[in-house]
Symmetry: C2
Subunit: 232 residues, 2 copies
């Protein structure tokens, strides 16, 4: 990454539409986001079992329900393009399932960190793409990535736990690093599988250097999120 | 049950408010409904694993998300009464968990039948109560019981399966009977535990004969629902 970040990473410049609404990668983008919502829903519901309290379970159920609201938005956006959501999602099932299987939390706190960190990484990645998309397409992406107030619940739970336990803090710091690595591995796998999506990412970020800059940007934001959680 | 059903079961009469908004049983009513939504959410998310298709999993996730929307309505209604939802739900955790534990589906079709039949029984029970409540309280109850179009998905799945398999039909018919029995057992347990709720049910239905009539009404509606599913 040189002294000049790609336009997509530079908040000070006006975003310019470089990807028309009918770019074939847009369908892939909506589809990978849609399956992301479904897999996040089921993971959250599963991981809520680790919650020590009913309050925690209810918070997680509310997060999971919000994912389904996003799924409906993407389902409609795909239908508007004449695309059937289940067909469109199929190519992404393996990569997203692999991410979740390789980052299966063993404690409630690991689950909370994963939710916060995973959501943040996804937002970093897709927000950069959104800035290069036709406005009506970018709006769908931004809509489903919008941060909810559930994040605050996670931050408080984790900060409280690590403030009093050095070993918990060290453990969760390593966990956060692993989440970052797995997320980037799977993002690269997805792009490599789908030419249309690769092309979309290349156009959005400028070129291969732009893609590298995007992943560097994700690492910087990740470090900042870990600090917010009281980790790293 | 005599020739004249209690007013609450007679659709032709105007409903009359017999239970004021500040009746102490109203808090219990909102609370048992609220925990019902939470436990239904987690059961659906768990049972979705039994789905043979991604389409089924997504349908169940949407049903589960709808339960959380209802929970939020009840949470707000309790907050408006100055009641903390977690404290209020605590007395009902055991009975609802017991219902779910005693009716743990072992197949996808059992899970679908349970969803449809359980939702229907709850609607029968609470709709009768709603008709005797102050309008603003009754509106909350009716709102969270409103049938969604998800039921149609269930009806189609079950009808298709039992049309071609006599043994599946027999098995699910027995399953439906068991669900009815367990639901009534737990409803009676809940009422017996909570004086305020018992009183509310007695006032809503008229008297002990009215309560018996209500349970008879639930059995009749249950038989009709089983027929809709192609069972019994």
């Amino acid at each position: 990454m040189g002294a000049n970040p790609p336009a997509a990473l530079d908040d000070s410049t006006e975003s310019t539409v470089r990807i028309p609404a009918d770019h074939p990668g847009v369908t892939d983008l909506f589809a990978v986001l849609a399956y992301g919502e479904i897999s996040a829903f089921y993971r959250l519901a599963e991981e809520a079992k680790l919650s020590p309290s009913l309050r925690g379970k209810v918070s997680v159920a509310a997060m999971a329900a919000a994912e389904m609201g996003h799924f409906e938005t993407l389902n409609r956006a795909l239908a508007d393009r004449g695309v059937e959501v289940f067909d469109a999602m199929a190519p992404f099932v393996r990569a997203l399932d692999a991410y979740h299987n390789s980052t299966d939390p063993s404690t409630w706190l690991e689950s909370m960190v994963k939710f916060y960190v995973g959501d943040g990484l996804a937002a970093d990645f897709y927000t950069v793409l959104a800035s290069a998309l036709a406005p009506e397409v970018g709006a769908v992406v931004r809509d489903v990535l919008a941060e909810t107030d559930h994040s605050q619940f996670v931050v408080e739970e984790v900060r409280r736990a690590v403030a009093t336990s050095r070993s918990e803090r060290d453990r969760l710091t390593l966990w956060g690093r692993r989440l970052l690595g797995e997320a980037i591995t799977q993002a690269q796998w997805v792009m490599a599988q789908r030419d249309e999506l690769t092309e979309l990412v290349l156009v959005a970020t400028g070129d291969l250097n732009g893609v590298a800059a995007l992943f560097e940007h994700m690492q910087t934001s990740h470090a900042e999120r870990m600090r917010v959680l009281g980790l790293g």
